[in-house]
């Protein structure tokens, strides 16, 4: 093996490990120096609010990817939960949100059973819900955008707690919970072990199937949460549009954050930073009068780059 190859591998490893933090720091510095009005509370608030839904979904996605799986149905689940909210808002905001989350739980458990018990590949298993889920949401909502007026519910989208927007707070809390889940609980350690070596985990007597179902359920519930928050922020339930391409954004955040698609590792802080990075990239380009389209193309390039770097490392 040549020294060059070794260096390259070490660089790739470093990049995967810390690249996302460096990139966020660099973008922040760049913006502070060259972007007008970047250093304002209002701007930070906007950026965080916009990153929050992706961040919440990405946390669940990180768990799924940690088991060497992937969940393509998160956007569809967001649409489903968004469609359900206005139907039950008549009973009060709490039951409406509870039902939306329950739908997420059901959808996730369904994916999990397909993957764990029937042994269907994760991409294939979650594809069915990706294809049918949004249609189902639109059928439930009669294909309509429904305005939402309940003030308590809308508080979820516009309210503050101690000056922090509710959705940002929610994202923070979920990030902390998932971080604890991964590092401190039996379940979390089993998730990582299963992703790291499924055969060994089975031989070690771990409850592989139960854990997998749990992971997909958590991922879908978090997607449902994101659907609820997005609905509250829009003050309208828009199942046609909410969460469109969310699977891509979430996977991007996870992969850019240094969690390998090959499983065995869940980086929570990296995932959160990954979501922030993608938001910052878009914001930076737009604030410098580069159109939305270039942000999209940049995102595509970043995804390919991040996956490529992760591949460098795993193929040793």
């Amino acid at each position: 093996m040549t020294a060059l190859a070794l260096d390259r591998r070490r660089a790739a490893r470093w990049l995967q490990e810390y690249g996302v933090y460096v990139a966020v720091a660099a973008l922040l510095l760049f913006n502070v120096a060259f972007t007008a009005n970047f250093l304002s509370v209002g701007n930070f608030r906007t950026q965080l609010v916009q990153a929050a839904p992706v961040c919440i979904v990405a946390l669940g996605m990180a768990l799924v990817i940690g088991t060497e799986g992937v969940d393509l149905s998160v956007g569809a689940v967001m649409a489903l939960s968004a469609a359900l909210v206005p139907l039950y808002l008549g009973y009060g905001p709490l039951p409406a949100v509870a039902i939306a989350l329950a739908a997420g739980l059901l959808a996730g458990a369904f994916n999990g059973v397909l993957v764990a018990h029937l042994g269907i590949q994760p991409i294939v298993a979650t594809l069915a819900l990706l294809v049918g889920g949004r249609g189902l949401a639109l059928v439930i909502a009669d294909g309509q955008l429904v305005q939402v007026h309940d003030p308590t519910f809308l508080w979820l989208g516009t309210g503050d707690v101690l000056g922090v927007p509710v959705s940002v707070l929610a994202a923070g809390v979920f990030a902390a919970v998932v971080a604890l889940l991964v590092s401190r609980t039996t379940f979390g350690r089993q998730v990582v072990a299963i992703g790291g070596n499924r055969a060994a985990s089975t031989l070690a007597g771990l409850p592989v199937k139960r854990t997998l179902v749990g992971v997909y359920a958590i991922c879908a519930v978090l997607a449902a949460v994101a659907g609820v928050l997005s609905t509250a922020r829009l003050s309208a339930s828009d199942p046609a549009d909410v969460g469109l391409l969310m699977e891509l954004s979430a996977i991007t955040a996870v992969v850019v954050g240094g969690t390998p698609l090959t499983g065995g590792r869940v980086r929570v802080l990296g995932t959160v930073t990954g979501a922030l990075l993608m938001q910052l990239v878009a914001a930076t380009l737009i604030k410098h009068d580069l159109p939305y389209s270039s942000a999209q193309m940049a995102q595509a390039a970043i995804i390919v780059g991040a996956v490529y770097v992760a591949r460098e490392r795993s193929s040793r």
Binding site: I123, L129, S293
Partner: protein, 324 residues
């Protein structure tokens, strides 16, 4: 369960997963013919054929990709991009209108193929990225979607999408010809054989000395070219490069392919099945529209349910002693 009943069950399941779409198509057509007087009218049938043709062209490429064990999520975006490029190119004549989308979309396919075959990155993530990229490119050349390029009234390019023979639009014949050629390519050429081998057992294919990487690159190039062509035909038919079409079209194409009996894990599938899958989808859509009171979104619910059933069937097929 004894081995014999297992085998019998497996062959039953296998027949269902291979012929299920055809049976469903016949059933739906019969019911629709009896239930809706307008369904069997020549106009409606021509309409169904035309509607099917665009998706069929895309699904044809997808069939090849899926048989190699891959997936191409970028086809919807590439299709829209192809349409815009065709409309844009039509100002320089027929050839430009056709070549511009084919070259660009073929290149996107080439990038997909090279990334999948040479770097070993997962096809779904690579093509998700190019989905985004193609959409971005489309927005970039249409001033963020604000400009819609139109095909001039006198342009010969219009004939491609709007001309008819016996009342059937040219796209129908293009789709039929391509599917026939695709079927021959898949079944009767060394390339087609290696497409199956790569998807059925990649490692074995390598050990047998087959050109695995080249096969993979080629199927993604094909998928890009065909999506671009479908976009160009659509632009000609609609007389403009509509920027908002094609969202989620990759899912329709995948659903049609898989419902048509192609194994989503690769190694097995037919072009005829895909054509039937596409026809089934269009007919169901047509029926839903005829009922009138039904939400058109039932279409994707039905597709999703179908897909689910087929995928579960395919899995039990894979578990059966047929394929140990």
């Amino acid at each position: 369960m004894t081995v014999e009943t297992r085998v019998r069950r497996a062959s039953w399941v296998s027949a269902l997963q291979r012929q299920g779409a055809a049976v469903a198509l016949v059933l739906v057509v019969v019911v629709a013919w009896i239930g809706f007087p307008r369904f069997g009218s020549p106009d409606n049938l021509r309409d169904i054929a035309l509607q099917s043709s665009f998706l069929a062209i895309i699904a044809l490429g997808m069939t090849f990709v899926i048989i190699t064990g891959g997936i191409d999520l970028s086809v919807g975006s590439v299709y829209a991009l192809g349409g815009v490029l065709a409309a844009y190119g039509s100002q320089w004549g027929f050839l430009a209108a056709l070549l511009l989308p084919l070259v660009v979309c073929g290149l996107i396919g080439l990038v997909n193929g090279l990334l999948v075959a040479r770097t070993g990155m997962a096809p779904f993530i690579v093509t998700l990225a190019t989905l985004l990229f193609a959409r971005g490119l489309l927005l970039a050349i249409t001033s963020e979607g604000a400009t819609t390029y139109r095909v001039d009234d006198g342009s010969p390019f219009l004939e491609l999408g709007r001309g008819t023979v016996l009342g059937f639009g040219y796209p129908v014949f293009v789709a039929l010809a391509l599917c026939a050629a695709g079927g021959v390519l898949l079944r009767r050429t060394a390339f087609g054989r290696s497409v199956f081998a790569v998807g059925g057992a990649e490692h074995s294919a390598l050990l047998m000395g087959l050109p695995v990487a080249r096969t993979k690159v080629l199927v993604y190039v094909m998928s890009g070219l065909l999506s671009g062509l479908a976009g160009a035909l659509t632009a000609s038919y609609l007389q403009s490069g509509v920027t908002v079409i094609g969202v989620g079209l990759e899912l329709d194409a995948i659903a049609a392919v898989v419902i048509g009996g192609t194994l989503l894990t690769g190694g097995m599938g037919t072009v005829l099945g895909t054509v039937i899958g596409v026809a089934l989808r269009t007919v169901i859509q047509n029926v839903i529209n005829q009922v009138g009171t039904l939400d058109s979104n039932y279409q994707s619910v039905v597709s999703g349910a179908f897909l689910l059933v087929v995928v579960v069937l395919q899995r039990s097929l894979a578990k059966s002693p047929d394929r140990r």
